[in-house]
């Protein structure tokens, strides 16, 4: 839960987390609590004659709901305990999941189903159910997953349609390179039972790439024979996403190099020089850069020694430091001149 931390909210952390957890669905909590209160009153003070109201099992369910709520309020939702324990356990960003332990949706649905199904006349039950559903539709916003991200898949893999084409193009190019042939020869003699051998076979024979942010997280789901220069948390951090709770300091060499590559390929930081970019590419052993056609800094990349090998589905593919038989790897200055 981004922005909600114990250090910022102190004892109000639990309340703030709950507020952000429910958002405009607070109505569900209200229905759930109302159901629990009304049921508790009916069960406790009912005269026993109105059996249809309190049977069957309403007492047990309500008793269980109250027991769970009280127990969790004293423990998992206790602001004092949470304030002292959660940061130490490193659970600040995922604390919201503790609210799953009290199933608000299930409890609210139970009380409403009990109410709607409690009538002998079917049409009355149907009307009440329709009314509840209408209220949900009117007063509660559609699930963010449905609201923002619903789109029909364009392929059976349910990934960005450009990924299969780009992956094929990268493999096709990479397999023609001298570096690939050399690595395959080394892999053929490697022992997969040793760490070094397995790395030679399964890591060093893969093209190492950087993809645009919206594609990066889909690439290895589709094709695990493509290696990525950035790990997930590092890329998220670079793009400004702090939800993982992982941070990278300005002194981390690994992060600085990858930041330099991303800054350079998108022209985001003018202080990144051609030589520092090249060094970062060499050090990280990056082979390919995939950049959106309308966003790449082509002049900079060419000057840094990257070769444009493809313009596919709206993306430019650049290779770096790779040669094919007969070709000679040009230094940066000569590549720029060509």
């Amino acid at each position: 839960m981004e922005g909600v931390t114990v250090s910022k909210y102190g004892l109000a952390f639990v309340a703030e987390s709950l507020r952000k957890y429910l958002g405009e669905s607070w109505l569900l909590l209200a229905v759930c609590l109302l159901g629990m209160i009304v049921s508790a009153v009916l069960v406790s003070f009912g005269d026993g004659k109105s059996k249809s109201l309190t049977s069957p099992g309403l007492k047990d369910v309500t008793c269980m709901n109250w027991t769970v709520l009280i127990f969790l309020s004293l423990t998992l939702y206790n602001p004092v305990l949470v304030k002292s324990l959660i940061p130490g356990l490193g659970m600040t960003t995922v604390y919201y999941r503790s609210f799953w332990a009290f199933p608000i949706v299930l409890a609210a649905a139970y009380y409403l189903a009990y109410l709607a199904g409690g009538f002998q006349k079917r049409w009355l039950s149907a009307m009440i159910l329709a009314g509840i559903v209408a209220c949900a539709v009117i007063f509660m916003p559609l699930n963010p997953g449905i609201r923002y991200h619903l789109q029909l898949p364009t392929n059976v893999y349910k990934v960005n349609g450009a990924i299969p084409v780009l992956a094929d193009a990268i493999h096709e190019d990479f397999e023609q390179t001298d570096q690939y042939q050399e690595k395959m020869e080394k892999a053929a003699n490697a022992d997969p039972e040793t760490r070094k051998g397995l790395r030679k076979i399964m890591v060093q024979t893969l093209p190492k790439c950087v993809f645009p942010y919206d594609m990066e997280f889909q690439v290895r789901q589709y094709d695990a024979s493509i290696a990525l220069t950035c790990k997930r948390d590092m890329r998220l951090y670079y793009e400004g996403n702090r939800s993982t709770g992982v941070t990278y300091s300005g002194t981390s060499g690994a992060y600085i190099r990858r930041k330099r590559i991303l800054d350079g390929m998108y022209g985001r930081d003018p202080s990144v020089s051609v030589s520092s970019f090249r060094k970062a590419m060499e050090k990280t052993k990056t082979n390919y850069l995939v950049v959106e056609n309308d966003q790449d800094s082509q002049d900079f990349l060419t000057a840094a020694g990257c070769s444009l090998i493809g313009d596919i589905a709206g993306y430019h593919i650049y290779s770096f430091g790779l040669t094919k038989s007969g070709e000679k790897l040009l230094p940066a200055s000569e590549t720029a001149a060509n």
Binding site: S25, R97, V105, A136, L142, P144, P153, F217, R232
Partner: protein, 355 residues
């Protein structure tokens, strides 16, 4: 087209496997008139409990993925064979009475089926590009490509020195790799299509089963199921279980929120009701539910917290020592997981990726 057909076969075979596993256990419990949906749900939990143990052993002994796939294939074949032989008659009996049972529901059954189809269809078509899917689906595709279990970083492809404690025990993603290996489909299809649809269906079944336990009549259970699906579809934030049900169906966290939680609530309610059902069986079911939950996600602490919050005070108030013992047995898998996790996280031991 070939992938779609194989994916459909994978889906149907897994449903048959879960049905066989659940039916066989029901049969062992000497229940003749069990619900098929209940058997399917129980079979799902039992299968993933068994998978967790086998996969964990394969992981620590550095066994290749294809060996795990062969072991699971043998287990599945045995379960399907036994289930079909011993429970086939029960299924036919249940199917014969399907018409009468459908009549008891009335017209509302159409809306329930429509709602369930909506959830499953959504799981089928939903396209998710989140960073989390990168990790969980990446675990499966990396395992399949490298023929290893947990030895490579799924987000970059680099070789790990040791498996991170957070992911070492939540082995559900490797089930996707096993399915992909056995049915010759891409891991991403196994995870984001086949298992997504199965998980969505199982969540709906779990909710319906909970409704049948909470409420006395089938119609009320139908209303309950419709309301839960509607409330999940109209969940306002990305943190609510509904968003996980509709957009992160393939993730273990979704299974915790939308499958394990209803099952845990179902068991707790039966204990509060002093149900006629054998208590020992309830605690055994709890064991399977929590063991499967360990394989789904490190968020297994959530249903464990719920079960403790519900049953610990109950057993103390009613001076019911047996319930307390049952609870301890039922939550044994997450307790063992917690001990291993803490020791692993504090480097008392590590799970190396090399011998």
């Amino acid at each position: 087209m070939k992938i779609a057909v194989l994916a459909l076969v994978a889906l149907l075979m897994q449903l048959l496997l879960f049905l066989c596993a659940g039916s066989a256990i029901m049969k062992m419990r000497k229940k003749s008139a069990y619900r098929l949906s209940g058997a399917l749900l129980l079979g799902y939990f039992v299968y993933f409990s068994v998978f967790e143990v086998i996969c964990f052993l394969c992981e620590i002994f550095l066994a290749p993925l294809d060996r795990l796939a062969v072991i699971m294939l043998v287990v599945a074949a045995a379960v399907i064979f036994a289930g079909t032989i011993f429970c086939g008659k029960d299924w036919i009996l249940r199917l014969k009475t399907l018409k009468e049972r459908a009549k008891e529901h009335g017209l509302i059954l159409i809306f329930v089926i429509a709602a369930v189809v909506f959830v499953c269809l959504f799981a089928l078509i939903y396209t998710d590009a989140s960073a989390d899917s990168d990790y969980y689906v990446g675990m499966a595709s990396t395992a399949l490509y490298t023929n290893t279990i947990g030895r490579f970083d799924p987000t970059s492809g680099s070789l790990l020195k040791a498996i991170k404690p957070r992911y070492a025990y939540a082995l559900y993603p490797y089930h996707n790799a096993v399915i992909a290996d056995l049915f010759r489909i891409p891991a991403i299809v196994a995870a984001r299509t086949v298992m997504s649809v199965i998980n969505a269906l199982m969540s709906c079944i779990a909710v319906y089963q909970l409704g049948r336990t909470l409420l006395d009549r089938k119609k009320k259970a139908d209303i309950f199921t419709i309301l839960v699906i509607v409330f999940n579809a109209f969940s306002a934030t990305i943190y609510l279980p509904g968003t996980f049900l509709f957009s992160r169906t393939f993730e273990g966290k979704n299974l915790i929120a939308n499958l394990v939680m209803p099952a845990a609530m179902l068991i707790a309610v039966k204990i509060y009701r002093k149900a006629e059902e054998n208590r020992r069986e309830l605690f055994i079911s709890m064991f399977f539910v929590t063991a499967a939950a360990v394989s789904f996600s490190a968020s297994v602490v959530i249903p464990t917290a719920f079960l403790v919050a519900a049953i610990l005070p109950y057993s103390l108030i009613h001076k019911d020592i047996k319930a307390l013992g049952g609870l301890m047995f039922g939550i044994l898998p997450p307790l063992v997981w917690a001990v291993l996790y803490v020791l692993n996280a504090h480097y008392v031991f590590i799970i190396r990726t090399f011998g």
